[in-house]
Symmetry: D2
Subunit: 342 residues, 4 copies
């Protein structure tokens, strides 16, 4: 059996460990052959592959990024996209199965293609942990760890200068990274897209912490908007044509908090450092196990399914379970965290 | 309600986060009062406490160790031990409930005492992850991460010198740390107490890796014994009376592997660094949530229960579920890992 | 002898290690007594102090920030500022000597005050490493290490997405952090305030790296300006009054580079995380030694001097040597680094 | 010009950065060609080389170990050793110059060979920092940082259990790592080979720290011996022939300290993790600069010299300055540190 692997969408610590797990098990246990599609679906559409013999995956599980490259290309894009053209391309390449590692968009595409008869299994990938049908996704633990270490550093500056510090972390649609990094670093307020919170409430938490002699710490997900306000991100630079670029919510609310509380306030946007680099041990183990399970699924012909973590087990679930439902932070998890605010 | 907290047994990253979670929620949500028993059950038996107002737990969730101290004292020890004497001591101190943070022994003691009518709830603590009735215990993730980082470092030495490297990690009775750190670091062999593996098999894996041009890496749990051999740890130094002290399995098998494979072989025992220091973000979140849930359980009078992680939820389980059954690495988890050996 | 210590200006990893070194040696070797001035010169001007017995400095050398607090107050500010008023305040407090830990501004103030007869010794503190008369200042090594680790993470994202990544690091007037973090991370271009470099040159380096199949990495100090351009920082958000806030150079040049090279380009501003948190071992040792030497200088009455690192030795130099001359990156050091660009 | 590079002796973080610095500058600035000798002098003696085009050194400056491999082979060993045979081998390979990266032994060999007319320049390499004629050697900073982080972790265990902790670090002949890691971690005693210290003195320091409520921390270099005692390392395991293997000083003195102080005492030997893995930013910069300077020296034909760090400059010194004199910790540096003991 010849299996093609692709990584699609934003990079994520653990991608290489998935690739390694799939290739090693596929070669050692099943005698499969592997190729990698370059740059996600683009490599599928263009038939652009690299060989993946065993030595190519040597030592890569601790490397960030993806050795295959990635892109945001859609499998339906262009003259060679769509199920029939891809079917022909796979036939030409002799590829019997595709392991698609990607997020919501990739898995939705994989579902459509597998319904159209293509032999595809999915591996869920989202640094934001926003995919349903799996307890955690690889990369999330690393992102939380990096954010937490950075916030630990910010705190000492806040305390020395008696400032309010705002840390903006990733999370456009869901607040999992903010929730975990905020709890881990003892934040006095955590602001996430799922929760309507007014600036008045934020100010109350900030002043409460300040009143106890603490330097207030606010952790905010990039997708949060103050209750009652329109989405109106601040301007962050201008692009090459002089048009304003939208900036972060942390920088936008810092002057408001400073104004409303009278406390010197600084925002730090953690940005891309959250998604790169060496994966945590947790993510390496999870990613390796998912990669190994994906090759089992491909061998069994479980097309249209993806591998998933349930408690401590790796299971198989239909892609329809995973796509369409964003896994939001439930109310009770936010309420639990909010008990320690202020 | 006045609640006494104790930490017992070996230290573990996350103990302080449990204490902080319990105290903050207890004070803010329920209006409870807290004291800490010094040095585990010794503080209970001796009635030796410190006050735990809110400011005492400030910023401690990222500190390793335990601010309460710990010991291996048994609650039945000495003239002031046992349920009746402890009941009298708690009454004298005005303590209405005890939150006991500890491992198998502590929880077994807590169970007995709660059956004798004492108001105790447990929080499971084991760096080895060997407690049943919970998916993970705090401290385990940190230990795996530290071990993995150390093993990443050992590899570069192995590869530069073309040596076989043996990393001995914690795990007297179970091999969870070895399994996870070994998978995360891409070990060519993982040896755990639960699995009978012969030296011949180990040598085969080592030579297979060497044959592919790799510097073989063996991760061994301290409690592993080669199949067919008696427990015969090597001598590691002598004590003050000149008597030999038992050394580690890594050092013991290194010369055997060297002899049998002809490869220069070195062992490194990671030791105490695995259990100290700053907890990982994962462990801080888990420990904080467990601490908060333990105070809920105490408030509800759920004596004889402990808090536990199931998938992503914190639940309450009877202590009888947790004690008595060592949570071993299941055969299928070892088989999964072993597919990548050699 | 009663010695007062103050920390002034931006926080910096190692401040607490200086304080601990001074207090421990002062108490153990000389039998001195110590107080800390709160929040830098403000505490001096206001006579606002805290006692510094030995136990106050226990375990603080690995803590970021400063236990004394800091501010940007000038010793000449306000009705109680200036040499005569401060002299009176010190007399009232019984303080015989002041150890002032701070940057250019603080040391210039300390020089003036000591020339006016006040008993002051300085300890140089600048995370930017821009003080003359010392090889390195504490905090710099930690900042470089944090920046390097963050840039290592950024690279994997750049390589997976075939992007040009721009990392903006601290350095308003000098480029030491950019130079060292850039060399350590193998940057394809390093841009520093000391060096006139045109955007054409930057584009050439970026395209050269891209031409060899690399994801170009540019490390830029916040104070760099493209040759031939006015200082025209981009807009980063608006303040509470709706006025634009000046943004960073990294964000400003990213769209230009994208436009001129055709490569997707992303900027990350490392910001405050570079100055907080646990100091590196190098900085802890350096800071401890400087703290100890500062108390020697105070004991000997070497007013108007500061302690300084020369090669591996701690020496005393006149404050006049340190202030007035910004220590810039010399041409030959930049040329050395530039040989590896592109 | 065709230059051959070798790395010899124990591995050390930064070796790859030296290789990269030399190759990049050599190719880009001088147009040289490079080969690597495999496994140190063995590759020279055997004429065993690999090509080193530019892409071979891509991204390696942050990798631990050495891509060339290393060994303890002596250039005078075997039938093909010695200056004449090597001269012939170099001629056959077309190698015009050798850059030898190694410690005392390697540099002594390089000196002899260059006196015999061979075109060799040296790059000093010792993780122990024991080479004279250079302020620091690369690898040392990383080793100190790793040791310090490990000791930070050990402390929390010590404090929770009220134990005396002993950390044994590298340093067979000199105590630089112990001195720096001990100062950085606030050790209550630092024991180094250069200093005669009695067990009575150690016990006094331990009890003094304990008396102030601290968990005593002792950092000992592996080569230290208690004053008045013979070198009598403890037994650590047995080798394959049943003969005792010599164990570490930490494990040996732990029971003595426990016996003499009545405090529970544990030793941890940090071992090989100190010399592997990702180099610190400091070491990457230093190593890159040394590599670049070594190719300058080779280009200029400065045979018999080595590159060296003086303050912040890279200079050239004769190999005779570097070899023969072990750079010991001077008395005043130990006295400085010892002021904070107890």
């Amino acid at each position: 059996m010849k299996i093609g692997i692709l990584t699609s969408g934003g990079d994520c610590p653990g991608l290489n460990a998935v690739i390694r797990g799939a290739v090693l098990k596929g070669i050692k246990i099943y005698g499969h052959e592997f190729v990698g599609f370059r740059d996600g679906w683009r490599g599928v559409v263009d038939g652009d592959t690299i060989e993946l013999p065993r030595h190519m995956v040597r030592g890569i599980s601790k490397q960030g990024g993806t050795i295959l490259g990635t892109s945001r290309t859609n499998p339906y894009d262009g003259p060679n996209g769509g199920p029939e053209k891809i079917k022909a391309t796979l036939a030409r390449l002799g590829v019997d199965a595709v392991i698609a590692i990607g997020g919501e968009g990739t898995l939705a595409g994989a579902r459509e293609l597998s319904e159209a008869g293509l032999p595809i299994v999915g591996v869920p990938k989202t640094i934001d942990n926003d995919l349903d049908a799996t307890d955690y996704t690889f990369g999330f633990d690393t992102a939380v760890q990096i954010a937490t270490e950075a916030i630990d550093r910010l705190r000492t500056t806040g305390e020395s200068h008696h400032r309010c510090m705002i840390a903006e972390v990733m999370g456009r649609n869901v607040g999992w990274i903010a929730l975990h990094a905020g709890m881990a670093s003892g934040a006095h307020a955590i602001l996430i897209p799922e929760q309507q919170v007014s600036m008045d409430q934020v100010v109350e938490w900030v002043l409460e912490a300040h009143g106890r002699g603490r330097a207030p710490l606010v952790v905010v997900a990039e997708g949060w908007v103050p209750a009652g306000e329109h989405i109106a991100h601040s301007v962050r630079g201008t692009d090459v044509f002089g048009r304003p670029r939208l900036g972060g919510i942390g920088e936008r609310i810092a002057p408001q908090i400073e104004h409303l509380t009278g406390l010197e306030t600084r925002a730090a946007t953690l940005g891309h450092i959250q998604r790169g680099g060496v994966p945590s041990a947790f993510d390496r183990v999870l990613a390796t196990r998912l990669g190994m399970a994906s090759v089992d699924a491909a061998t069994k012909g479980l097309w249209g399914t993806m591998v998933s973590l349930r408690s401590t087990e790796i299971v198989n679930v239909g892609l329809e379970e995973a796509v369409g439902n964003l896994k939001k932070v439930p109310q009770e998890r936010y309420d639990e965290a909010a008990m320690l605010f202020g």
